[in-house]
């Protein structure tokens, strides 16, 4: 049986006295795409940052692509992360930014730079400094940055932020390509209508734990909304499977 892309067991993390993750259990199979849903402060971003090696867990066990956390350089080379911030240097041009990340991730040549710039529609702006870009352009370039080194696991935190209609379509296509190529994807989103398009399973976080989990037909927007309402009204704590609902 192949190793899971992500396995978390009893993961905890606090900031000061505020517990954000409180014994979270989660598993993402290799090549699968999972949408992480939940209210603000439910621990979605903290989870992604932990998996990316940007934070340390207070307790519990996690492994990513077969590597135990805390992360090693070997693991970090296999991860692509797109967060709330672009991770792009405003003083460098689009091309210089991508060339820098090529070297940082040990990509032996700069060939992916041109093809990715073209793929995200940024070829004409390649020589412009990033500080002059609009929010949408920055997000497109950030996507290219996250994909530059062909990651095996993509961690996407609200990736649709700032994108126009074409940008949204581009992102949907890129995610579809990555899924087809076997890349595992863990994506935070608030857009319930797109979950079924982008993911084959979804997890709803509440109070730092998995409050609901579904796949297949469960990913229909109305079902997700119902799960969200149930959790918000205090009826959470159940896990829905494709065939029904299972009480935790």
């Amino acid at each position: 049986m192949p190793e899971a892309a992500v396995t978390c067991r009893g993961l905890t993390r606090s900031f000061g006295r505020v517990g954000v993750l409180r014994g979270l259990d989660l598993e993402l199979e290799r090549g699968a795409s999972m949408a992480l849903l939940g209210a603000n402060g439910s621990g979605k971003t903290t989870l992604l940052r932990l998996l990316a090696g940007l934070l340390r867990a207070d307790g519990g066990n996690s492994s990513v692509l077969g590597h135990q956390l805390p992360s090693t350089a070997v693991l970090r080379r296999k991860l692509g992360y797109l967060g709330h911030e672009s991770w792009l240097y405003g003083e460098l041009s689009a091309r210089e930014n991508l060339e820098f990340y090529c070297r940082l991730y040990g990509v032996s040549d700069d060939r992916p730079v041109d093809s990715l710039l073209e793929r995200v529609g940024m070829t004409r702006a390649a020589s412009r400094r990033v500080r002059s870009f609009s929010r949408g352009m920055v997000q497109r370039l950030s996507l290219a940055r996250a994909l530059l080194h062909n990651p095996q696991l993509l961690l996407l935190d609200e990736p649709f932020t700032g994108l126009d209609r074409d940008g949204v379509e581009l992102l949907e296509n890129l995610v579809a390509e990555q899924r087809a190529a076997g890349t595992s994807i863990l994506m935070v989103t608030h857009d319930l209508a797109r979950v079924s398009l982008l993911a084959d399973q979804a997890v709803l976080l509440g109070r730092g734990r998995v409050a609901w989990q579904g796949q297949g037909n469960d990913l229909a927007p109305e079902r997700l909304e119902q799960a969200w309402r149930d959790m918000a009204s205090g009826q959470g704590g159940s896990i829905a499977t494709n065939g029904g609902t299972q009480t935790c």
């Binding site: 090696g53 340390r56 991860l79 967060g83 911030e85 672009s86 460098l92 820098f100 940082l104 040990g106």
Partner: protein, 219 residues
Amino acid sequence: MLTLLARDLRLQFRRGELLASSFVMGVLMLLAFNFSLDLSPDNVAALAPGILWVAVLFSAGLAAGHGFVGERENGCMDAIVASPLDRGSVYLAKFIVNLLLLLLFEAMLLPVFGLFFELSVLSVLAPLALVLLLGSIGLAAVGTLFALVTVGGGGRDLALPILLLPLEVPLLIASVKITRVVMAGGGFPWGDGWVRLLLGFDLLFVVAGWLAFEYVATD
């Protein structure tokens, strides 16, 4: 590490503001001391080393804060931490950039210092350069580590000097004492206890920064 080093140097020289602001601040401090102290040929040799190092110390604090300026925007510090780079190497790259900028600043400031205080720095240039190098290694090591601690925090421009200055007091005293010997024409006092203190300070903070980066960066 070389990738990060090259990118940092390119960013710093493209901006240019760090070196310019440090230099202006250093010159203004020398000017202020020159006018505010009653300097005479009798006391200038005793006072000038302290003045030089206070100017270097405050400009180094300013430089340390700016050393992560590229990483402050757009969360780029996270990008470096999440990259496959060895995290100790990230500290070393930042430390080397800070050190190079500090040495460049000192090379620019030294002629102004000689001019303002009518001191012949050329005649003691080699030992003076050595003490400046040793002092700068310690300043860059401490500054880089604490700039990292404050890089993501609010009020960082205020927090950094408050954290830095108390730690740098031993380095300041040792550097001033050694510079005084050097400026008096006594050569570099290799066997002096202050030199050992300065070397120990440098070693301690370079190693501490290298080891601590992983924990500071991921919490």
